[in-house]
Structure formats: structure tokens, C-alpha cells
């Protein structure tokens, strides 16, 4: 992975990296991806792809509403709330 790719990924993750960090992470990510390349050598014909490390199944729950007792406390704990609303830097589509 080159520095330009590292920069793009950092941008998608909203991380601001300086030049030294970009080249350091590019090197580290290259090593990690290299390890996956090596894993790819393992013959996996006939093996179903695994999406989770544990072979377990998720439970379901009944459609039974139970309002959370103090939702506005969550708002109050946020950074500079505006009444019952969360405040964020201005965004417009």
C-alpha cells in the first residue's frame, strides 16, 4: 500500500495524519495485507467463507417495546446539547 492509499483510507475514517504518520501506517498496513496474502495460500476449496470467528447464531427478541426511562439524559450528556436535540457542526446535503 502506498502513501496515497493510506491517505484515502485515513480520509474515509476521518483521521487526519501527517506525512510521517501516513508513511508509517502505509508500511504497517502493507505488512498486515501481506499476511493476508500469505493466508490466501491455504487451500480453501470446499470450505464455506466464515464471517465471524465463532460458530454461533444470533438470538431474536419479541417485538415488545420498552421505552428507555431517561432518553433525554443521553442528550444532556452530549457535547453542548440544544434543548432535547444533539448539537453537531453544521452539515447540509
Amino acid at each position: 500500500m502506498d502513501v496515497r492509499e493510506a491517505e484515502k483510507i485515513a480520509g474515509l475514517a476521518r483521521l487526519s495524519l501527517d506525512a510521517a504518520e501516513r508513511s508509517r501506517f502505509a508500511g504497517q498496513l502493507t505488512a498486515i495485507l501481506g499476511y493476508f496474502e500469505k493466508l490466501r495460500e491455504v487451500p480453501t476449496e470446499g470450505v464455506a467463507p466464515a464471517s465471524h470467528p465463532a460458530d454461533m447464531r444470533s438470538p431474536l427478541r419479541a417485538d415488545d417495546p420498552a421505552p428507555f426511562a431517561t432518553p433525554l439524559e443521553l442528550v444532556a450528556r452530549s457535547h453542548r446539547p440544544e434543548g432535547e436535540l444533539y448539537r453537531v457542526p453544521r452539515v447540509l446535503e
Binding site: 484515502k8 480520509g11 474515509l12 476521518r14 464471517s51 465471524h52 465463532a54 454461533m56 447464531r57 444470533s58 438470538p59 431474536l60 427478541r61 419479541a62 417485538d63 415488545d64 417495546p65 420498552a66 421505552p67 428507555f68 432518553p71 433525554l72 443521553l74 442528550v75 440544544e82 434543548g83 432535547e84 436535540l85 444533539y86 448539537r87 453537531v88 457542526p89 453544521r90 452539515v91 447540509l92 446535503e93
Partner: protein, 480 residues
Amino acid sequence: MELEPTIGLEVHCQLATRSKLFCRCPADFGGLPNSRTCPVCTAQPGTLPVLNQRALELALAAGHALRCTIRETIKFDRKNYFYPDLPKGYQISQFDQPLCEWGELEFEAEKGRSKVAKIRRIHLEEDAGKALHPDGLACSLVDLNRAGVPLIEIVGMPDLASPSEASAYLQALRRTLRFAGVSECDMEKGSLRCDANVSVRPKGQPELGTKVEVKNINSFRNVERALMFEIARQSEVVARGEKVVQETRSFRDSEGTTVSMRRKEDAHDYRYFPDPDLPLFDVGRARIDAARAALPEGFAARRRRYQGDWGLSEYDARVLTEEPAIAGFFDATVAAGLAPKAAANWIQGEVLAFLGETRGEFEQLRIAPAALHALVRMEEQGELSHQAAKKVLRRMLETGDSAAAAAQALDLVQIRDSGALAGTIDAVLAAEAKIVGDYKGGKETALNALLGRAMKATKGKGDPNLIKQLLLEKLGKPGG
């Protein structure tokens, strides 16, 4: 060069659950901002999502209603993007193993011509919250009440050839989902949302043109408007010898135009990966089959039944399958014992007219199917004239009274007692000696005039058949 458009719709609809997809917050509309949130749907650290079983069942119902192939084991993935209405920084959605694939929807492309459009996939996902941008404020504000509300996204193949086809497809899709009980599909409330992929290509060219995604089509009326504008815009671009740019555009209702959303190109790089918080789900054959068995009869099947089995006209069958509530009421009225044709006439006539005038919803109707049947029986048994029955039904719709109570209150019960009518008839015959003379002189139609006088004397409440019979008994044959 003649160009032809190709359209595919991506439709989001809110599943009719009581709670959210992965937490137990209520999923209904309204409420104070953020009053329907909890640590899960506001993405507090350490919380875990648990899937709502009903949401899965409703998504299965949608899959069956649209004749999809359904996957027995499903996976949820994280769709990563940053926007303040998405507290986790990702949306839980389904990427490569959606619940349903390869379905189809039959719809009436134009009067008398039906068409089948293919459904590419249906997947489950959670809704985002709402970001507000008040004027004069340097910040934006966020309400997370809708964050985590269960949705299905129904991705159609680009099988639609015109804006009117797209509109007809969306109407049929909405009706299918409403009859399946999957969703209210109310575009005004946002429980049905529609994005369109549109391209144009020279007629006969096999490969599709460059696709533009049109978002924010906020009403049924605007589906055709937005598409007509976008097709004209792309056609002009091509006519100028330029290339259509692949992009996302937003529909502007006030101007009827679409404008580029100018998002960064990499905004679509969602970096999907399996959600580690949600191991695989076994949907299971049994659950899939149970959802199929529980699927209510669709509107197309009902139309066939109404026309084929019950002999209703195509028009009647259409009106009665406009809404699931109307069809349900009609079926229940027939089940209560009323003949289908009579039930159809009363529902389409007085009942729908009443709802039209009062802008009422069928769901809020104050009469029960059995009450409508009771009213019609009163007419059949001669207790009410047809005109009186209409007035009585009107009162029943307004007040929720039973047929007997409404007829009583309006004093419209027909006089069917020959003793009570005899006096009135004698008085009429005495007063209308000239007409009686005409009748006796052989003028047969004079009987109708006497009948009219007698009806008037009873204020319309006399049973016309009985009065006629009594008149004949008293006068004998004309000319006789």
C-alpha cells in the same frame, strides 16, 4: 438519434413493527425529539443489537408477496459512512447475503397491459435519524427518534421503460406490501421512500447508458415529475454530444428539477464488512414456510376472486381492492351473509361517498360489516324503501347506530300495516275523485298518480307495493 430511458427503483419501506430493529424503543412516528432513543440506538459504548423477530417475519412476508427466493441463513454488515444522523458511524444493513433475492412484481404498465418487473433483492436495514439545519444557527441539530427503525430496501431491476411505468410499478408495490401487512407505505409520513436510477440510451442499443441516481422523490405525484425532468435533462446532454455524468441528484419539488448533490466521489466507498456484533442468523425453513402460510391474500388474487367467483365487474373488483381495509370490510360483509353484488354496491356507493365527503379513513369506519348486512335485510324485507335505506346508512356511518336504531331515529321505518294504510288510501280516493274517475274510465296510468298521492300522504313511509295492492283491491281493474 432516438433515445429510450431505462428506470429502476430502490424503495425503502418501514416495517410495521412496534419496536425498533435492534432495540426496544417504540418505532412509531411523532413524540418529542430523542424521546424514543436508548443506549443502543444512540450508539453508547458497550451496547449490543438484538434483532426484532417481527421485523424478520415482515421482511419474509414481503419476500413471499414478491415471489422472491429466500435465504435460510443471513448475515448483517456494517455500511460505513459519516453523517451526524448516523450515531454509530455505520448503518447495520445487509451486503452480500440479503434475505430475499430475485422476485417479481406484476403491474399494469398501461390500461389493459400488464408487465412483470424483476426484483433484484430485498434486505433488512435500520433507518438513520434526522439532522435539522435551522436558519440562523451555526450548527445542525440531531433527532435520533428514527435511528434504528426497521426498514426493508427493495431493489428493482432496471426494467421500467417510462415514468408512467415507474409510477404504476410503485403503486403496485405499495398495494402489494399493504395487503401483505408489511408496511403502511405512507409516503407523506416517510414510511415509503423511493429513489430512482435513470439512464438513457439510443434505441436498440443493448448496453445501458450512464446511470444517475435521483433521490428525495417525496410523493407519488413527483415520481413521474422527477423522472420526466431527469430523462429530458439526460437526453439534452446526449443531444449536445456530451456524456452523462454518473452522479446522485436530488429532486427539487418546488421547481420540478433535479440538482447534483455534489458529494465527494469516495462517499460511496462504504467499506462493508460483517457486523461482529451480529453473528449469522438461521432464518430456517420452518420460519420461511410459516411466513408464507401467514401471508394474507394479495390484491391481485382478491380481484380474480371477486370477478371470477363472485361475478363482480372489473371496475368493482378494482375499487374494492384499492385498500386492504376496504377489501377486508367487503369480505367480512359477504361472510356476514350479504350477497357480493349488493355488498359491493353499498360499499362503493354510500360508504365510500361518505368517506370521500368527510375525508375519513376506512379504518375509522363506525359501522361493522354485520350492521351493513342488517340494513340491507331491512330493505329486503320491506321495512325500508331503497331511498330510506340510504338515509339510514348515512346516519349509521355518522353515529355508529345500528340499522334499527338509525331507522327509528329518522322515523323511516316503512308502514306495512294494511289496516294503518287503509284509512290513508280511503282519504286519498275521496279527495282525488277525478283521478279515480280517469282510472275507472280505463286510464291505467292513473293508478300511479294515486299511488304517488298515497305515498305523499304517508310522508314516503308507506310500503309502495302494499299501497298498490290495496288500491287495486279497492278499485278493481282499470275501466272495470
